[in-house]
């Protein structure tokens, strides 16, 4: 037994030789035409060019307007959730416009012969049990298969993230889970215990108003002054004040806030940072609060479920160009991107389920534009999908769903084929996430749009090469998605300041807003409830 194992082991060592030599050779070669140049693939934008028409181009009014009960601009989670709710409650004359060729917003997805894969949001945590509408939706989507005698939801096992779930490459090995423990000393481990104790207390805490200190949606959380104070400091300042300062805990929290909010812990509001950890309280018959639900195409699965009742009501390749509220309704113009024709709707109601910087342009509302520029920071992200063959592995925990490298600027990669059940996978699709937080968003965006496919490929491969030495040889394709305005950053003042609520106010009786930037944090539930809230405003009037 041990003999043959050893032979295999050392054979592997020898076999890895040319592989490991490759990066050495590569490092010596000219910087410009590296090996990455050989990896095919393309940059597929979130239609930046078409989107920028809205910024750079003045559109005429369309020749005629089609009558509609409700027009929703943006087929992301908020927009589709609003549309679904309206249709379910009898408002059927609805259309959802989206600039992209596929609905989904941040939850959009792609695919190839081997699997579908996410281009953005790729999982949801086990939901909190008070979110009845959300749970109903998940049951409709067959994610929840029923409830047990205790009334706890039973999740479809194929959708709960399979084991092994997460691993972290740290101190030369893969460890299980993302909370660093391999190679930490007792003092460092004690800080982690202290941190999770504080989080545990926050989870149970209620404010003087009787509400949970940290709840989902964000706006159902307590507004107790002592908690609001957390929104005036950064996560790092809060940690420093609790003497949580070792490099590992700083890395871990920074990783988490970049992962969920695209914001380093030195910039993110402590309230938002704590919310990430302390708001998840979901209970289930067959899962824990820390478990997640995920699919090959990430949250694209949920988008398809949201769209289920919206057949023929989602119009893609449609760039909304203006929204004009009038006394009895709203005039909405849009450009059919394929035919380059300008068209219009005359609607009784309009929900702008797009980010606020888009809303300001649609409404030609310069005041709104100024407020957004002053208070909202949208961080750009780069997401790459790699199609790979069998990769060589470092020691420790085997390949998992989520694979994170300690100290990397990236968030690591997620294996889109992880939820597949077959024994053998010919190829795998890995989705690699990099929030571009190294410089201010504006500069990062500019830099990102100028960089070539080769530049991004090299960035991805040189990062992953540390954990998979043969990744260059094994990668058959890399596609890159650039999200210019991936999400709003919950900086201090965002959650408990008054900008969100003032921007979220409906215009007259007919124009409503729904987007996660108005929630301050970009998570599925917020989008879902943003949509519901806007839809209910319409239903109240009908």
């Amino acid at each position: 037994m041990r003999r043959s194992e050893f032979i295999r082991l050392t054979a592997g060592m020898a076999a890895a030789a040319p592989v490991v030599a490759a990066p050495l050779l590569h490092a010596c070669g000219p910087k410009s035409g590296g090996a990455a140049a050989l990896v095919p693939g393309e940059i597929i934008g979130a239609s930046a060019a078409a989107g920028h028409l809205l910024r750079d181009h003045t559109f005429n009014a369309p020749a005629e307007y089609e009558a509609k009960e409700a027009v929703i601009i943006g087929a992301g989670v908020s927009g589709l959730s609003a549309a679904r709710y309206l249709v379910q409650h009898g408002v059927r004359d609805v259309v959802v416009l989206d600039l992209e060729n596929q609905p989904g917003g941040n939850a959009t997805w792609g695919g190839n012969a081997f699997s579908k894969y996410p281009w953005g949001a790729h999982y949801v945590p086990v939901p909190n049990n008070n979110l009845v509408e959300y749970l109903d939706f998940l049951q409709d989507a067959k994610v929840i298969t029923g409830y047990d005698e205790a009334g706890l939801p039973v999740y479809d096992e194929f959708y709960l993230c399979h084991d092994p779930e997460e691993r972290l490459y740290i101190n030369g090995q893969w460890q299980e889970g993302l909370v660093p423990n391999l190679g930490l000393n007792t003092a460092q481990l004690a800080e982690f215990r202290q941190f999770f104790k504080l989080i545990g207390d926050f989870k149970k805490l209620k404010g003087a108003d009787g509400l949970d200190a940290f709840s989902i949606p964000v706006d159902t959380s307590s507004r107790d002054e002592s908690l609001r104070a957390l929104d005036r400091v950064t996560m790092k300042e809060w940690m420093d004040s609790h003497h949580l300062t070792n490099e590992y805990i700083r890395w871990y929290v920074d990783y988490c806030t970049r992962d969920d909010f695209g914001t380093p812990f030195g910039q993110v509001s402590a309230w938002a940072g704590i919310h990430y950890f302390a708001s998840r309280k979901g209970r289930a018959a067959n899962a824990a609060y820390s478990d997640v639900l995920t699919w090959e195409n990430g949250n694209g699965f949920l988008i398809e479920a949201l769209r289920k009742h919206l057949d023929g009501k989602v119009m893609t390749g449609a760039l909304a160009t203006s929204v004009k509220p009038g006394p009895a309704g709203v005039e909405i113009s849009y450009l059919d991107v394929a035919s380059r024709q300008l068209r219009g709707f005359e609607a009784r109601h309009c929900i702008i389920a797009a980010p606020q910087f888009v809303a300001a342009r649609l409404l030609h509302d310069t005041e709104r534009g100024k407020a957004v520029t002053r208070h909202f920071r949208y961080v750009p992200w780069m997401v790459a999908n790699l199609t790979v063959g069998e990769l060589s592995e470092r020691a420790g925990q085997p390949g998992s769903w989520d694979n994170v490298i300690y100290g990397s600027p990236s968030l690591g990669y997620v294996d889109a084929t992880h939820q597949q059940i077959q024994q053998r996978k010919e190829k795998r699709n890995l989705t690699y996430y990099l929030p571009l937080t190294h410089v201010a968003p504006e500069a990062a965006r500019k830099e990102a749009y100028q960089a070539s496919h080769e530049f991004w490929s090299e960035k991805v491969l040189s990062d992953l090469e540390r954990v998979h030495p043969d990744i260059r040889r094994q990668t058959e394709r890399i596609d890159i998605m650039l999200w210019g305005h991936a999400m709003v950053q919950p900086l201090p003042g965002m959650i408990h300041g008054d900008v969100r609520s003032s921007l979220a106010k409906s215009i007259g009786e007919h124009v409503h807003f729904a987007h996660t930037d108005l929630a301050g944090v970009s998570i599925f539930e917020e989008g879902f409830y943003q949509g519901l809230k806007a839809a209910r405003k319409i239903l109240q009037q009908t």
């Binding site: 032979i7 054979a11 890895a16 030789a17 490991v20 084991d163 779930e165 024994q423 010919e426």
Partner: protein
Amino acid sequence: MKNTAGRNSAQWVLLVAVFIIATCGLIYELVAGTLASYLLGDSVTQFSIIIGVYLFSMGIGSYLSRFFNDHLLEWFIRIELLVGLVGGFSAILLFLVFPLAFSFQPVLYALVGVTGILVGIEIPLLLRILKDKVEFAELVSRVFTYDYIGALLASLIFPLIFVPYLGLIRTSLFFGLLNVGVGLYLCRYFAGEVRGVAAIRFGGVIILIAEVAAFIFSEQIMSFSETLAYNDHVVYSTSTPYQRIVITKNKHDLRLYLNNNLQFSSADEYRYHEALVHPAMTAAGQPRHVLILGGGDGLAAREILKYKSVSHIQLVDLDPVMTRLFTGQDILSEINRSSLKDPRVMVTNADAFIWLKENKRQFDCIIIDFPDPSGFSVGKLYTTAFYRLLQNAMTPQAVAVVQSTSPYVAPKSFWCVNETLKASGFHTVPYHNYVPSFGEWGYVMASKSAGYQLPDTFAIEKKYISQAVMAQMLQFPEDMLAHEPLEVNKLNNQALVNYFEKEWGKYSEQ
């Protein structure tokens, strides 16, 4: 003036040669030490003995050097080439010899000894070659300085660069090539002073070519040495996209290994397959439609075909190479009595999980003969998710049976399968028997209704099973119980794989 310069550069060439010899010599010693401590364990002992043997052999070499009286330079070059040959191939030789356990240590120490002796001869030889050309104090100082610097270099680059990047086989070949290269260079450099240059050079080039070839084909050599790891004659071996299949044969039996794990021995497989198949088939009453998941060797099918009631067997095995082998090869279809060629048997090569998910048919009896849950991908085939799909493929009276590893070696794993079946809504009947080539082996029967009755007879041709034997198989002694509450194996916890790794890991350490 010109003469001095020539002499001087000859001296430097030889000193560089010393440097390289010292480096290579120590590398061979380190290769041997590393291999020995990996293969035999106890690295302190292995390294200690190998260093001792190596240094002592160098002493022998130094002693032997006195018997070289003439043509010192020629001998120096010959020995250089010899070191390159012996050292260069040392790792390959050790790998090939290793499976023949009895001869490993003698070969190991012989190799270390020979290398030590050869290197030991070289330094004194060199001192004597140079003694007329350089002043003595300076000579000794220079030769040993280069010798020790070479040793330092070797001990640094070996662990930091060569083992991680080249592996052991290629490292030793690389330094072998270096030795031979130095030998050939010296041949050329001293062409005028050395007699029989052509013969020496010819030998050197042959070694060079052999080592380059070995360097290139080192992976193939590795896989060849693997076949030697089996005790018996390997009659067939192949790698499919799914697994490595090896069939061995000796006077007594034929054995099938998948990924180095024994699947059956023809001498006692009837014990396993009778125990796997007949309890479920008998409990199912008069089964007509039977499903086999796994079992590409056709042995479970052979047992099932003994029942007259059976009209159709659906066999689903992942690997087409496996089922083709057991359909077509005479020596194998003799063992399964050509079961896979029987018109009642339908063979489908598919992933069992995916097949089951898409399957709409129902069966009266289902035999599940998967490999042990030794990794996350096979572990999925033992989860509640899989067993719930299984429910859909069973008629109300159907009985399924799952091969469930050894309840003696891995009681938690065995009972975890039982718990998982129960959690998936089944009534279960766990049982076990003794299969000499496997040890104690376990099975779990699962059905939708409770109340298992011991059958009066097993009315088929058999060598092993009977009512009395079955009654015995249901009894679990204390040392095959789990003695703690167990987790249910699910896709999102893979509890079974964790139990299995711990239990079998501990077992194979013994």
